[in-house]
Amino acid sequence: MEKKGQVTIFIIVGILIVSSIALFFLFRGNIIPEIGGKSEQNPNIFLESCIEDKIREGIDLISIHGGYIENPLNIYFKFEDENSPQHISYLCYNQEPYALCVNQEPMLIKRLEDEIYDYISGDVRICFDDLTSSLEKQGHIVDASYGSFDVDLAEGKVIIEVDGEIVLTKTGETTKQEDFSVIIPSKLYDLARVVQEIVNKEAIVGEFGPTDMGNYPDFEINEHRTRDSSVIYLVKHKESNEEFRFAVRGAVIPSGFGMGAG
């Protein structure tokens, strides 16, 4: 009889101890509640999934148009495997015969960053707002402020740094997170660097030849000369298949050496 009672007490005490431990870990203040629900482990991932398609869309558009969404200085050109022509921007240009081209976009990488910025700016704000809404739906009291964002092209990636702050309160616990970032794998930066080298060569000596191409083993570079002696370049990163197109016009030798009344 006594033994049974002891066992019972031990069991009860054991249950109590285990429950206490569980409750302790459950309710201690350092636990950060999950934000965003099941599919978003953290706000960066939520933002990334929200904005990624738009960023990629922007990168593609900018890349096939020579670094701009829209640019008046362009040539209308159709590649054979495409159904329609595209406007391709001149990155180095001179209309005069025999004159080397003038670099039209010396800060090319900054230009690309600005173009992406313009393309996604509305969507970044929307995604941020969606993030806060999502958190609210999960029962948090959300105090969010959105500042702005930056686009940074780096080797192998595009980084979107969002200047914002989210303060979450739930069951008396408050957490704060600020400065979110989205990282999209992309070779745009790497392509841009090669493009700048090609443009430099064209600007300095008026030619980018087969020998020069050997310096870029990771890239496939194709060129096409048009009737008006513009050159369309197509630079492709071999591994990722990402490509960048642009046009150059300079050091043109006109028909008949340009001599005579014309």
Binding site: P72, I75, Y76, P106, V205, E220, P254, G256, G260, A261
Partner: protein
């Protein structure tokens, strides 16, 4: 393998340095000048008679373009409406500029347009550099702008950047490397900027963990024990890593090879499928060279599958999926980067190998119309084609070198330097008083040497000389022309292009002399009869085609069209049956002097002998060391290209600065002409060189699309047929398609009347028009008429056609036998296709045989009928079989207007060359006349001196007549010459039977004033201004600025200068023009290796005043870094002395010698030989220095340990 790599690297650097794409982008087709023609002064009556026999090679007057008086002025627009940044715009034309954009009233290179000055833009954040960047654009976007060339900006120097304790190496700019905190090694090439596994080793840490890495990484980051060249799988090291089992092999790509990974995933040796057994443990212990070989020949696939030793040049490591090959182990395999050329019998080509693709015979001025140059190259396993500049503006140059027993081909597009040929001045052939040519061989040799100094030029001789005899002056017709070996292509279909000017430069007039043996008898040719011959036409056409797409020549399909005009018997309408030429070699009277040049067979072969001939030399006449390749200083074409007056019966391409010295000869033959009292006549024979036109129709358009090796271009498409066009017009495309735009057009063009100028009216009649005066029916003879016809298709839409007219009906229409030639005189549009056809010229005289139904009225008042018969041919080749007729009633009447001078050559108020007091003068009149000149104002016409020769022959349709003479005794500073002309010279001739007499001839009583100025001072190069002189020291290939200042001459020193010197090391003469044009300060950047130089500088102004000077200097190359020659303690300081001026840096904490100088502490603020730092006892100083030529110590200059 390393040696091969090194060779390829050095070779590629050599190419980069030596291939001068743009060295010859020096364009100065500026004003032209006539050289002195050689006119022998009259001596006797005989000579006077023979004056008529002057051989007027008007088209060939030597016109050297040697500079411009004033540069064309520009404004600078910050941004155009099209979005172009910093563009020079014509003065005042700011409508091209975007609203709100800055406009400067000076060019974009000027001081005032600073914001548009070009320099180097550095993105400080990303470490990138951009050349030729406008300042404002750079700074506005956050960049740092340098007023320097890219290679002069230190931040932009490229080199190897060592990162993360040597575990990463990237080839990038100095700035980028600094941003990343790396160590920058500018001396390391891109190919060597890799981490070789020999530099790495096993780093054992945490007892048994291992990483294959660099010593620095092991020491600093892992705190492990490093064993150089040992692998983590080394048995002795007893690590957790080992050789994988055969069924669990992993590989990776590293330095373009396939490498094993050990069981820890660390790099081992190059993959070799035979090294996976226990007895191969050694292969897993230490770094070693692989013994397997990869071979890509057929049947050797197992070597690819089992070996990862790709060489990095012709093969690289790729994934098996990309290669389409499954290796024996792992997922990576070597893939060949070489190519197989299916278009050349499956010839093997190495990666980066390049070769030329031609479309016709090349060189010898025989490139066919529509042909262009291409480079084909092997690019990482794929053969690609690159079109050189359109219209043969670039040509393809190729050479082969031996590389380990195999030929390796190199090719590049380089500028066609043919335009330089026009700058060459050649010697004239000299004749003695009897007309015998003297020193012929010497002159030819000299001309060959002069012309041949430009590699893209060749000497073309026209030789119709035969010695005069007692009977005849024969031909004194020999001259040399320096022409392009690879003539430029032209937009021959476009009348607004320069095609007409270029081709017209090879037009020529030649005056033949005719005499009657007895008065009233038959006419015989006595002088320059060679101009009537087939040989003349043949030789002239050969010259014509050398200028570009001109003359009778073929396209790529071998289709020939004529495109020139020569002697036509019908022009000599006063010759009767039975009149003959005095030599059987002359063309038959009933034909024109086409000879066998009208046969396509003569030229067809050039379209078939693809690539044969004389391919371009690899280097142009200027060398790759020269910074003419950097065009930053070079200005484009300036000045008025057509400053020179028009010459000859045709527009002379003055801007071409052509061509050869005139051979104006008055043959002062002392021979007895028994018939001295008989009449002589001169007939001016004209060879008119015209732009090439495509054959009618479009049967060959599709040929443009058939050749995958030579994709279609607009130029080639247009050359295949008159109706061939590139399909799309709105946009450019990768593979343009050439189509026949009028495949079903079989209707002749409909000719109609468009307009007429002046007081005339036109009335339509059946298949023609009748033109009357507004006040009366008939038009006075010799009137100038200007009317325009149009051509339309059957729908009434404008249709492009070529039209000709004749004053007699029944001329043969175009046929296959006459190569579809339209026979007749051309309208103003020449041989271009046009929708309008304008006649502007004089109608035939009443006395002409073309005027019919002459009435019997009073002399001087008679009337007759004149008809012009017009035939047109459209682009598909349809022509009107029945000629369209323009009818006139012609009335005899007096000419009441005196002749007017339309043009002077040299121009009025020109300068004479210094110390020269004579010159030739050509004037153009609006009607035939005899002219005289005097240096005195008061002289009457009869008292003045005759012009040596005038075109006195009336030709209907012609609008300009030439007179030529020589002016002497021009000794004043300002020489005034008065010219008077009397028209209608035929009235004074013995056989004139018309109603007018001497009193009806009109003379300009006032006299035309013509002024020539003397050059007061010779052109000089200021000796003190020539630089460099003496000794210069630099490192590597040095950039020097060749400079000289000119003064004097006709234009206060404004001139064009040229440099020339011989480079022994390459056994070539290097020459080029200074980049500054139209100025007195001449500057040219050159990049030269070390050595002694004696550069000849030659300057010439517009009137050929010239001056020479020499820049004599020695370039000494300092390639050694500074050495520390003394170290000592001086009080509380440590002092070091270097053997040359240097900046020295030290570090005490990094504790090694390969630190980046930027991270060291500077010992001096400026370059010096003396360097001081404070003395700290017991410290080890690692010291490195860099001299003024940027040469720095590779390791430490010195490692100094101070005593305690």
């Amino acid at each position: 393998m390393k040696k091969e790599l090194l060779f390829i690297v050095m070779f590629q650097i050599f190419l980069l340095v030596n291939i001068t794409s743009a060295n010859s982008y020096i364009l100065h087709q500026s004003d032209s000048l006539i050289e002195n023609s050689k006119i022998i002064e009259e001596k006797s009556m005989v000579e006077k008679l023979m004056n008529y026999g002057i051989n007027l090679l008007i088209g060939f007057l030597s016109i050297k373009q040697i500079g411009i008086v004033s540069a064309e002025e520009f404004w600078c627009c910050e941004e155009t409406t099209e979005g172009e940044i910093c563009r020079d715009i014509p003065v005042g034309d700011d409508s091209l500029c975007k609203e709100g954009a800055n406009v400067w009233t000076d060019s974009c290179e000027s001081e005032s347009a600073k914001d548009c000055n070009l320099g180097t833009c550095v993105d400080e954040d990303k470490g990138t550099c951009s050349a030729r960047s406008p300042k404002l654009k750079c700074t506005t976007e956050g960049g740092t702008w340098h007023d320097d060339l890219l290679e002069d900006v230190q931040d932009c120097n490229r080199g190897c950047c060592i990162l993360e304790e040597g575990t990463k190496k990237h080839f990038r700019t100095s700035k980028h490397c600094t941003n990343e905190g790396g160590i920058f090694k500018p001396e390391v090439s891109q190919e060597d900027c890799v981490i070789y596994s020999e530099e790495m080793g096993a780093c054992v840490f945490n007892e048994n963990d291992c990483k294959f890495t660099t010593e620095q990484d092991c020491e600093i980051n892992l705190n492990g024990d490093f064993s150089l060249r040992l692998l983590c799988s080394n048995f002795e090291l007893n690590t957790n890593c080992g050789m994988p089992s055969k069924d669990n092999v992993e590989t990776t790509c590293y330095n373009n090879k396939v490498y094993f990974l050990d069981t820890c995933g660390e790099l081992a040796n190059v993959y070799d499928s035979d090294k996976l057994d226990e007895e191969d443990q050694n292969y897993w212990d230490i770094v070693q060279e692989p013994i397997c070989n990869v071979e890509f020949e057929e049947g050797k696939e197992d070597t690819i599958e089992g070996c990862g030793d790709c060489n990095g040049i012709n093969s690289i490591c790729v994934s098996s999926s990309e290669a389409g090959i499954n290796p024996d182990d792992g997922d990576y395999v070597c893939k060949s980067l070489d190519c197989i050329d299916k278009n050349d019998d499956n010839k093997e080509r190495k990666n980066t190998e390049a070769w030329c693709v031609y479309e016709s015979y090349v060189g010898d001025s025989r490139d066919v119309v529509g042909s262009e140059y291409r480079v084909r190259y092997c690019d990482k396993g794929e053969i690609k084609t690159k079109l050189c500049e359109n219209y043969r503006g670039q040509i393809c140059a190729e050479k082969s070198i031996m590389n380990e027993g195999e030929l390796f081909s190199m090719a590049e597009c380089r500028p066609n330097e043919g335009w330089k040929c026009y700058q060459i001045g050649l010697e004239n052939y000299e004749y003695d008083e009897n007309g015998i040519i003297v020193d012929e061989d010497k002159t030819e040799e000299k001309n060959n040497e002069t012309c041949g100094s430009i590699s893209d030029c060749r000497l073309h001789s026209v030789d119709l000389y035969s010695a005069p005899t007692l009977e005849s002056t024969k031909n004194l017709f020999k001259f040399d022309v320096c022409v392009p070996k690879y003539p430029p292509g032209l937009e021959f279909w476009d009348s607004a292009s320069n095609a007409k000017d270029v081709c017209n430069s090879a037009s020529i007039t030649c005056t033949t002399i005719w005499k009657q043996k007895i008065k009233g008898g038959a006419w015989f040719c006595k002088g320059n009869c060679g101009c009537l011959s087939k040989s003349f036409a043949n030789q002239m056409n050969s010259l014509c085609t050398s200028f570009g797409d001109c003359g009778g020549y073929v396209n790529v399909e071998g289709e020939y069209t004529k495109n020139f005009k020569t002697f036509d018997k019908d022009e000599i309408n006063w010759l009767e049956e039975g009149d003959a030429l005095d030599s059987s070699e002359h063309v038959e009277m009933g034909s024109d002097a086409n000879g066998d040049i009208s046969s396509s067979a003569t030229y067809k072969k050039y379209s078939e002998q693809i690539g044969q001939g004389y391919p371009p030399e690899f280097f142009g006449s200027a060398e790759g060391f020269f910074e003419g390749s950097s065009l930053e200083d070079i200005e484009g074409p300036e000045g008025d290209f057509l400053d020179i007056s028009r010459i000859g019966a045709q527009t002379f391409g003055a801007s071409l600065g052509l061509l050869f010295d005139p051979i104006l000869l008055i043959i002062s033959l002392i021979f007895i002409i028994l018939e001295s009292l008989t009449e002589t006549k001169e007939i001016v024979i004209e060879f008119k060189c015209q732009p090439w036109q495509a054959p009618p129709g479009g049967k060959d358009c599709k040929e443009c699309n058939e050749d995958e090796l030579r994709p279609c271009t607009e130029y080639k498409c247009r050359s295949l047929g008159s109706t061939c066009r590139i399909l799309e017009e709105v946009y450019e495309s990768e593979n343009p398609v050439c189509i026949n735009t009028h495949p079903d057009d079989h209707s002749a063009p409909v000719i109609d009347f468009v307009s007429i100028e002046g007081e005339y009216e036109a009335h339509e009649i059946n298949n023609g028009i009748k033109i009357n005066g507004s006040t009366e029916n008939c038009i006075q003879e010799s009137s100038n008429i200007n009317f325009t016809l149009g051509t339309k298709d059957e729908n009434g839409d404008d249709e492009y056609a070529r039209c000709v007219y004749n004053w007699a009906p029944g001329v043969d229409p175009p046929t296959i036998e006459n190569d579809y030639a339209l026979i007749g005189e051309e309208f103003n549009e020449g041989n271009f296709y046009s929708t309008t056809h304008t006649f502007e010229g004089k109608l035939p005289k009443f006395s002409s045989d073309y005027v019919s139904n002459k009435d019997e009225g009073a002399l001087g008042e008679r009337k007759g009928e004149l008809a012009m018969y017009v035939r047109c041919m459209d682009q598909p080749g349809n022509f009107n079989p029945t000629e369209y007729v323009v009818n006139f009633c012609i009335r005899e009447g007096p000419d009441k207007d005196h002749a007017n001078i339309l043009e002077f050559i040299p121009k009025d108020e020109s300068f004479l060359k210094y110390d020269v007091n004579e010159t030739d003068l050509i004037i153009y009149l609006d009607e035939p006349a005899k002219c005289k000149f005097s240096y005195d104002l008061d002289k009457s016409y009869d008292e003045m001196t005759d012009f040596l020769s005038c075109e006195e022959y009336y030709v209907p349709g012609k609008s300009r007549w030439m007179c030529l003479t020589k002016l002497a005794d021009l000794t004043k500073l300002k020489n005034e010459i008065y010219i008077k002309c009397k028209d209608q010279p035929w009235i004074s001739e013995g056989d004139y039977k018309g109603p007018w007499d001497e009193t009806d001839r009109n003379e300009n009583a006032q006299g035309f004033l013509y002024t020539l100025y003397a050059t007061e001072n010779p052109l000089e190069i200021n000796k003190d201004s020539i630089s460099p002189q003496g000794e210069k020291i630099g490192s590597g290939a040095m950039k020097i600025s060749l400079e000289a200042t000119t003064s004097g001459g006709a234009y206060n020193g404004v001139s064009i200068c040229k440099y020339e010197f011989y480079m022994e090391s390459i056994e070539r003469t290097i020459s080029g023009f200074f980049s500054s044009i139209g100025s007195t300060h001449h500057k040219q950047s050159l990049i030269l290796p070390g050595g002694d130089y004696d550069i000849l500088i030659t300057c010439e102004d517009k009137v050929e005043n010239n001056a020479t000077g020499n820049a004599v200097f020695n370039l000494k190359i300092d390639s050694s870094p500074p050495n520390i020659i003394r170290v000592y303690k001086d009080g509380g300081s440590l002092k070091i002395i270097t053997d040359e001026d240097a900046r020295c840096y030290y570090n005490t904490d990094v504790k090694r010698c390969d630190f980046n100088l930027e991270y060291g502490t500077s010992m001096t603020t400026a370059f010096s030989t003396s360097h001081t730092i404070s003395w700290d006892a017991g410290v080890t100083y690692y010291i490195k220095c860099r001299d003024t030529f940027d040469v720095e110590n590779e390791g430490c200059a010195k490692k100094i340990i101070t005593s305690t």
